[in-house]
């Protein structure tokens, strides 16, 4: 082939690649196809632990803002063409730089636990972040999206393989497992020796935390992702069928149900016998704990997928668009505290009146809930 021919071939190759890149990156890529992670924070001894989008666990000393990182969690597979891979969700572009971490780290004793989208559970020393154990040691399970619940010497988690696992907190050895009918993305809740967890199989399970045997199950019309809230012997769980259910802890019987206009994704909170249930229909509903009657609905102008926090006499809510509101528990007045203009999907964290919001730019935003003052953000990236 002469020089002209080679040039022509090169031009064709370039055009084909350009066309594909434009079609797939420009038009084709769908927002939210790549896992990024939305880990919330957990605070112990004035140290905040949170999973970063680099796939690390970071410990932030809240007194001096010094930070300590773990080694990055290990990817299952390498990214494919155009930054796409099964582990990255098959999408293009801005996936997590490392293993996505969705669950909030849990601190128990001298260890902090975290589960990754790579299908592994890790235990680190809280002081040094040295790895204590990892489960499973060799292979990987299906990804973990939900968080961890701990009681006594046991750690509980549900995975994408539909299994609820109970592990020994000290060694990571498995104690029991329970198979549900589909994936689990929610975080379990513990109450009175029972473990509550929802599954994509549209069922809400109550298991005996001691041996993993099923005590009862409650069937809904939609998948369950939300983390349950347990209060006064009643467990509250949101479903994809647009209902929030109140189920009696003892026998799984329905107490009442409340209907919204979209999925209930985030865990509700309860204050003074009033349930504050955020929905993806842009509203935060206030519901009477006693009978499920709607008291009010606050329009947040954007879906709410993160768990709100209670600070003094107000509820702090962050919308998916990154706007943070304060709802007064006394007057019911809604006031905007901040607009970060970044997606907020993970649960909020509160400590000594400061609300911490993990944003996808790899920062921890801080707001003084009392004054509404926005404090300087803390970078979670190890390079900054």
């Amino acid at each position: 082939m002469n020089l002209k021919g080679k040039w022509r071939v090169g031009r064709i190759v370039f055009l084909v690649i350009l066309m594909l890149a434009v079609c797939l990156s420009g038009f084709g890529c769908i927002k939210g196809m790549a896992p990024i992670g939305w880990s919330g924070g957990s605070i112990s001894d004035n140290t905040l632990f949170v999973g970063t989008r680099e796939g690390r666990l970071v410990a932030i000393n809240l007194a001096d803002e010094s930070r300590l990182w773990t080694e990055p969690l290990k990817q299952v597979s390498q990214p494919g063409l155009f930054g796409c891979s099964p582990m990255m969700g098959g999408g293009c572009g801005s996936g997590s730089a490392g293993v996505a971490i969705y669950g909030t780290p849990m601190v128990y004793g001298e260890l902090v636990y975290i589960a990754g989208y790579n299908g592994k559970i890790y235990a680190y020393n809280t002081a040094s972040l040295a790895l204590r154990w990892v489960y499973p040691r060799e292979s990987n399970l299906k990804p973990f999206v939900g968080g961890i619940a701990i009681s006594g010497d046991r750690l509980y988690i549900g995975g994408e393989d539909g299994k609820v696992l109970a592990l020994d907190t000290a060694t990571g050895d498995p104690i029991w497992e329970f198979q549900t009918g589909d994936k689990i993305w929610g975080t379990p809740a513990l109450y009175d020796g029972k473990l509550f967890i929802g599954s994509f199989d549209k069922k809400f399970y109550a298991l005996d935390a001691a041996d993993g045997s099923k005590e009862w199950e409650f069937v809904t019309e939609g998948s369950i992702i939300a983390t349950p809230l347990v209060y006064n012997d009643v467990v509250y769980i949101g479903s994809f069928d647009r209902h929030l259910y109140a189920v009696n802890v003892s026998n799984g019987s329905l107490k009442w149900e409340f209907t919204g206009d979209n999925w209930f994704w985030a865990e509700p909170v309860v204050v003074n016998d009033v349930i504050y249930a955020p929905g993806l229909d842009n509203y935060v509903y206030t519901i009477k704990e006693e009978n499920g009657a709607k008291i009010d609905a606050y329009d947040m102008a954007s879906p709410v997928s993160s768990r709100p926090v209670v600070v003094n006499d107000s509820i702090i809510v962050a919308t998916r668009k990154g706007v943070v509101y304060s709802i007064s528990l006394i007057t019911g007045q809604v006031s905007q505290l901040a607009d970060f203009e970044k997606d907020v999907d993970g649960p909020l964290t509160e400590h000594e009146g400061i609300v911490y919001v993990h944003t996808p730019d790899g920062s921890l935003q801080r707001i003084n809930a009392a004054t509404g003052a926005i404090l300087r953000s803390i970078s979670l990236e190890s390079q900054n």
Binding site: A100, S223, R242, D345
Partner: protein, 303 residues
């Protein structure tokens, strides 16, 4: 939600989800069914595109002839080509226009499949804002991603091969080897390049998207067959001899190359005796308007 999402992406996504419900909760079947339905809706445009393309290919010998005749006079060549197109009733931009009209639909379908697959947790969360207030839509999600032993959210090697093979088949049927050796080389390269690129992409994307590519290619192959027959698939590779100092191409004739689809394939352009009757003689284009597809139908009836 921007207008694109509101008018195109949201309806297609919801239809896809509802179809999954009515097809036994099978997202794979919904992808195939929606691809077929969209192809049926786009049939007039696709037909027009295929016919325009076929007509352009049928004119290749005459264009080659004009190139030979007016090769040095570019202006005259353009004029003659335009006259030929006009007399034959062929619109060179026809293929492009129909392709441009169809493109948003294909992109919407592609986006909806990726959206409904909701591979990552963020994807499912993002999907919620596209849903209509239909109870079916809310309850069926997230969709069951298993289909014929495949996980539609994961890449699949066999499906990637099928993507490449079906695209190659479709392209092979719809292209003919141009008379010019360089163009022929480019055409051959494109014939292999696109399927290979898509096959490689299929190895990185969820196989739900690959399923859509395969289904789409198969539907297009069927349409192509109905309109133009096997097209380039039946044509034997032509032995071309480039005579560099004379700037034309000599095509060897062969007795087997008498397919009704091979309009102009038996043309021999030569600088030898122009009075010879056993070779194709350049002639003025017929005044009769060219009617794509009809010639072939008439010849079929004769046979």
């Amino acid at each position: 939600m921007n207008p694109w999402e509101l008018i195109i992406q949201q309806p297609v996504t919801n239809v896809l989800i509802v179809m999954s419900h009515y097809l036994g909760d099978s997202f794979g079947l919904a992808i195939i069914a929606l691809t077929i339905i969209v192809n049926i809706c786009m049939f007039p445009l696709t037909l027009s595109q295929i016919r325009s393309s076929k007509a352009m290919q049928d004119l290749q010998p005459k264009i080659a002839e004009l190139q030979k005749k007016y090769g040095k006079d570019k202006q005259k060549l353009t004029q003659e080509q335009m006259r030929l197109y006009k007399e034959s009733g062929v619109k060179p931009a026809g293929c492009l226009v129909t392709m441009v009209i169809q493109m948003p639909v294909w992109i919407a379908l592609y986006q909806s499949i990726m959206l409904a697959l909701a591979v990552a947790p963020e994807g499912l969360l993002n999907l919620s804002k596209y849903l209509y207030s239909w109870p079916i839509v809310y309850s069926i999600l997230p969709l069951d991603r298993s289909f014929l032993l495949l996980d539609l959210a994961q890449p699949n090697f066999i499906l990637a091969i099928l993507v490449g093979a079906s695209m190659w088949l479709q392209q092979k049927m719809s292209t003919t080897v141009p008379s010019d050796a360089r163009q022929a080389q480019q055409s051959q390269m494109m014939l292999w390049m696109m399927p290979m690129m898509f096959a490689l992409l299929a190895l990185s994307f969820p196989s739900g998207l690959s399923l859509y590519w395969v289904a789409n290619s198969i539907v297009r192959v069927v349409l192509q067959y109905r309109v133009t027959g096997w097209g380039g698939l039946r044509r034997k590779p032509e032995e071309t001899t480039v005579v560099t100092d004379k700037k034309y191409v000599k095509f060897d004739d062969s007795g087997e190359r008498k397919s009704v689809d091979d309009v102009g394939a038996d043309i021999v352009i030569s600088d030898s005796d122009p009075t010879r009757k056993d070779v194709y003689q350049p002639s003025k284009p017929s005044k009769a308007r060219y009617q794509p597809g009809k010639d072939r139908a008439q010849r079929r009836r004769k046979n």
